[in-house]
């Protein structure tokens, strides 16, 4: 299946949007429960993972792998 770059860009955009809209969750938990509360830390971790996912998606755009992925096993 040919790799659709515009489709991938759209997924990256959606992931970035989701990360932005979820950013208030750790903020609220930190404010209400304190930065050391397990739930606040778990929410920070959640946001960190989403940000890492978006970063990787963005870097994947420009990587040689993107061009080679026409042969990706999809």
């Amino acid at each position: 299946m040919p790799f659709d770059q515009s489709d991938f860009n759209e997924l990256t955009r959606k992931a970035a949007e989701l990360t932005l809209e979820t950013a208030d969750v750790p903020r609220l938990l930190r404010l209400r429960l304190g930065p050391d509360h397990a739930l606040a830390r778990a929410a920070e971790e959640m946001l960190g993972r989403l940000e890492a996912f978006v970063r990787e998606l963005r870097s994947f755009h420009g990587s040689p792998e993107t061009d080679q992925s026409d042969s990706a096993d999809t």
Binding site: K14, L18, V25, A38, A42, L50, L57
Partner: protein, 165 residues
């Protein structure tokens, strides 16, 4: 935390879980299961799920007297004149909440099954039953919170009140 906080957190996290699952599945379909992007997507979904579960637990441990405490603080008059009406509205609302929530839990349920199927390379009836049971319990908790939200903040549900009048 207030009920409004919990309402916001549960709604945001539940929606985030569904959206992240969709994105992760789509990405995995394009790059393959073993790609780092797939792992990162799965990891993000799993952490959202974990936080959502923890928030539900904390919310369930909050005192059931949230609504009553607020009534004591200054709404006795309204409560005395509208108590029976409020009970009726709350019951109607619970049915509506069930309808609304049912639009959300099913795709999340299917996504989770697909997630487990793809990550482990298979699935059993037991796992499906276990996931469904977890969804049912989570739904029941969300419904209870929604009921309490309605009792405490009826002004936040103007459409429900309009239907009643």
């Amino acid at each position: 935390m207030t009920e409004a906080d919990y309402e916001y957190l549960l709604r945001t996290l539940s929606e985030a879980r569904s959206r992240a699952s969709e994105i992760a599945i789509a990405v995995r379909g394009r790059v393959g299961v073993d790609h780092r992007l797939s792992e990162l997507g799965n990891s993000a979904v799993s952490q959202i799920e974990s936080v959502l579960t923890d928030v539900r637990k904390v919310a369930a441990e909050e005192p059931a007297s949230w609504g009553e405490a607020r009534l004591d603080a200054g709404a006795e008059t309204k409560a005395s004149t509208g108590a029976l009406k409020n009970v009726g509205v709350a019951l109607d609302f619970s049915a509506q909440a069930a309808d609304i929530a049912s639009e959300h839990w099913f795709p999340a349920f299917v996504n989770e099954l697909l997630e487990r199927y793809r990550t482990s390379g298979g699935i059993t009836f037991e796992i499906v039953e276990q996931v469904l049971q977890e969804r049912k319990e989570a739904f029941a908790k969300d419904l209870e919170i929604a009921r309490r939200m309605y009792r405490s903040y009826p002004h936040m549900f103007p459409e429900t009140q309009a239907q009643r009048s």
